[in-house]
């Protein structure tokens, strides 16, 4: 606002053009100074950026040890997930000084918890005054905001929100129920990050929903299910003074929402024992309430099966933080000990290849982080998404929009979608298109159908058959087929006509493929004659073009009507989709370098009941653009 007032005076001054020129030069220089001397240059020079997260900190010796561990552990910035001082150090400014003594130059950001929304342990606005945003966040800092890191070439978007908190006088709905301002803020921030080609998305908040304590959802089921449906990579929460990290969660099969009072195996996308997961298969949920306040116990009861690893007062009590390290293709989480026991946890999310930028990458990113208001951030009415800002970036402010990553011509998978269902009468269903697809991408639609008659007989309008319907050697009720389409602006999801049947599908958006000859060679199919459970084989195929992309499909019909099947990908391949149902389908990818035969690729099935599965598989080589 102050800049606008000054500018208005300038335009009426006799020397306005000279002054305007000088002001412009000054802004450019300030902008250059900020970019070259700030975190951007440091972060972009590195291939990996690491950020730290922990909530429920208090102000005691452990609190300091956790910050020290982050500061000394290569963390570029620390994010507190709320519940800051617990009045162990008062007033707020004294707690901020304590934090700064340990953090040094490491930016220390926070999102508000229930102890400082309207008290009782200080007020968030006062904390924001003494610990202002240092990362040029967009939105209302400490309440509802996002930041892209590193700003110059973002690898991750961090979205911080405040479900179930009470901000008196804000006049806003903080429930994060579907349709509310907060829900829209998050959906917009996710969608714009995807459109900008930012590889990973992390969402954090204080209140938990799914947890290992015997409480119901304290945050917002709508928000949690939206985050899972959009396949946010990592979803963090606190309020539970412990650490617990889930398997990737997904809405698949019978799982239409994540139940928080019972366990539905269909909501788990992968149970890889080593914590290695393919990006896009699900959302990993992590409770990180281990920042310094005394730990509580975690309960091994109803919701425990969602979690792969946990720590609490009843299991190796250890204070620490979650270190999240991001490259263009991986997001790795490590629980880093600061005090107490010896607990560790590690998981990695891997993309087959880095996505290339969208031509609309800058549309809603950080362009509006220009306000010059001083802390504390206001509680002004939140705008509809994308939000305008009331935050205070460090001086000098910049109007620079974070540029998207440099384009790449390599062929790779941009994004995927998958699902399953049942048609109770002959008709059609609509598989989802992969999020963020772009015109010129080639989208492959894999179809697996369980029915005793014919299936996969008609290509969706505008789509081309890649693999005609064929069936398993062990059952003519297990059908598989593949179609593809070079996408055009305005395309909508296809309609797939099938008989009354159970079905599974995956869609895969491939960028950098030849738009004239997407199929490098004729796809190969395999009826899996003689293949024993749990193997599901896709055949070897020999490309003719170096640098192509291999896509394999592994489908089954489970011999037990009520049973479902899930998969682990073939060794060395990245899992793109795992549609768990009676008609189940696994799709995987592998970047090829030469024209050697790929060799057969065998996925591993896991049946919920019995070992009778009727398998079939397909191998497709996607030709890169010349």
């Amino acid at each position: 606002m102050e800049l606008q007032v000054n500018a208005a005076r300038l335009v009426s001054h006799p020397l306005r053009w000279v002054l305007a020129l000088l002001l412009g030069i000054a802004l450019i220089l300030a902008n250059f100074y900020y970019l070259s001397g700030s975190r951007d240059s440091e972060a972009s020079a590195a291939t990996t950026v690491s950020l730290g997260f922990a909530g429920d900190t208090g102000g005691n010796t452990v609190t300091g040890k956790v910050i020290d561990a982050a500061h000394n552990g290569g963390v570029a910035a620390m994010f507190n997930l709320g519940d800051l001082s617990y009045s162990q150090i008062t007033p707020e400014s004294a707690w901020c000084s304590f934090v700064k003594q340990h953090a040094g130059t490491m930016p220390y950001e926070f999102v508000t918890g229930n102890h400082e929304d309207d008290g009782p342990d200080g007020v968030w606005t006062n904390f924001a005054s003494c610990l202002p945003d240092q990362l040029g966040s967009v939105g209302n800092y400490a309440q509802q905001f996002y930041t892209d890191y590193p700003a110059s070439s973002p690898l991750v978007r961090l979205i911080m929100v405040s479900p179930k908190l009470t901000f008196s006088g804000s006049g806003l709905d903080w429930s994060y129920k579907s349709g509310t301002q907060g829900y829209k803020f998050v959906t917009s921030a996710i969608d714009s990050a995807r459109a900008a080609g930012i590889p990973f998305i992390v969402v954090g908040m204080h209140m938990y929903c799914l947890s290992m304590v015997n409480y119901p959802c304290a945050a917002s089921p709508d928000l949690m299910n939206m985050l899972v449906s959009k396949k946010v990579d990592l979803y963090m929460q606190a309020h539970d003074h412990a650490y617990a990290r889930s398997y990737p969660l997904a809405l698949k099969g019978s799982c239409t929402a994540i139940p928080v009072s019972s366990f539905n195996p269909d909501c788990v996308a992968s149970t890889n024992a080593n914590g290695q997961f393919a990006a896009g298969t699900g959302t990993i949920l992590a409770t990180v309430g281990s920042g310094g306040r005394s730990l509580n116990s975690e309960n091994n009861t109803t919701t425990a099966p969602y979690f792969q690893s946990f720590m609490g007062s009843n299991n190796n009590p250890t204070y620490g933080f979650l270190k999240v390290s991001v490259t263009s293709t991986t997001l790795t989480g490590n629980f880093v000990r600061a005090s107490g026991g010896t607990y560790t946890d590690s998981f990695t999310i891997t993309r087959p290849a880095a996505p290339s930028p969208s031509p609309t990458a800058t549309a809603t990113a950080t362009a509006t982080a220009t306000a010059t208001v001083t802390p504390p951030p206001t509680t002004t009415t939140a705008p509809p998404p994308p939000p305008t800002t009331t935050t205070a970036p460090p001086p000098p402010p910049t109007t620079t929009t974070a540029p998207p990553p440099p384009p790449t011509s390599a062929i790779s998978v941009r994004s995927t979608a998958s699902g399953a269902g049942e048609l109770t009468a002959a008709g059609s269903y609509t598989p989802g298109l992969p999020a963020g697809w772009q015109p010129g991408d080639t989208v492959f639609l894999f179809s697996q159908v369980t029915v005793s008659g014919s299936a996969n007989t008609t290509a969706p309008a505008g789509w081309t058959q890649a693999v005609g319907d064929f069936t398993s050697a062990s059952s003519t009720s297990a059908h598989q087929a593949v179609w593809y389409r070079v996408m055009q602006a305005g395309d909508t999801a296809p309609s797939v006509t099938e008989p009354a049947a159970r079905f599974a599908w995956s869609t895969v958006a491939v960028q950098g493929a030849s738009t004239t000859t997407p199929l490098d060679v004729t796809p190969a199919t395999d009826t899996n004659s003689g293949v024993a459970y749990p193997g599901v084989r896709a055949p070897s195929i020999t490309p003719v073009t170096p640098g192509a992309l291999l896509l394999t499909a592994h489908g089954v019909r489970n011999g037990t009507n009520s049973a479902t099947t899930s998969f682990s990908p073939p060794a060395g391949m990245g899992e793109l989709g795992d549609s768990k149902s009676n008609a189940a389908l696994e799709v995987d990818s592998l970047a090829l370098t030469d024209t050697s035969a790929t060799g057969a690729k065998v996925a591993t099935a896991s049946s919920s009941s019995g070992t009778v599965t009727n398998q079939c598989g397909t191998a497709i080589v996607v030709r890169p653009a010349p």
Binding site: N214, H239, R293, S294, N315, S339, S609
Partner: protein, 342 residues
Amino acid sequence: MLPVAATAAGPDLPQATNCSVRIFPGLGGPGSNAIASSSNGLVIGIADTAGGGSAPVLWRGGQPTQLTIPLDAVAPASVNAAGVVVGTGYDATNEVLVGWWWQDGQYHPLPVKPGDIAIPSAISDNGIVAGALVADEEHSDGPGADEDERPAVWPSVTAVARELTLPAGARGGHAFAIGPDGTAGGVALSDDATPVLWAPDGSAKALPTLSGKGGVVLGIDATGQALGQSAVADGTHAVTWAAPSAVTDVGAAAAGPKSSASSGIAGVTVGSGSSPSFRGERPQAVIWIGKSARILPPGSDAQFTGVSGSASSVSRQGANTVVIGYSAADNGLRRATEWSCK
């Protein structure tokens, strides 16, 4: 670091061959979990219902009965020989966690002073309850109780809790176990986590650990021996404390890096561990008889194939040692399981 009484090392874990395994029937849903058993073989846990939720359940002779508890998110924690069950649940109307006890079909809240919430963890055969208290917060903040837990004992289910003394420097703690003489066991939390025994008069005694980096008492057997876990470099090892000055690393007999003991009877301890040669090193139910460890293979039935598991309680029933816990399928689904060993 205090002296370790004994260490038993083994390269790999054999399976127990003298145990029969059975999956308990549930309440019509796919999953269940046996959480604790009494000295006379009563078992409590949770089970999925046909309606899609979950409910507390009491198994007598392996047959389930759903407990009627007028709360949400009900989680039973322990049962004694008199059939008294304790646990927690969420009162959605008043937005508060409630500690409760149940017997013969009747539900009762555990008594607490105003401003406190009860979190019971264990009940002994003579009716003493161990657990924790936590400050009741402003309910508008919604579910949760994010203040420090304070260890406590209820002399009976109708008596107000008595807080246990924390060792110097500790900011919180939790009593997870109760012995036959009223001794409680658990953890005290300062910058570190200290395993603690509280004498019946409430005084605290810190116990030694294997690495100096903490531990937790999770059970006390009928002989008064404490058991639980102690931190080691790669995780935790199951340990027993026969005397307050000595810790025994029974977990070293489990070849995996992580093990923990949860319950014991004279000469027998059960918990969880793993072995490289068994089911891909997935966590398994483990029984230690003296210094010898054996895996209790997970159960399976026509609709369920167990690949991992954990043991939570053990009791002697006639000539048999009966262990309860859960078996888990590859997709994570759990089923309440009983291992009966000759």
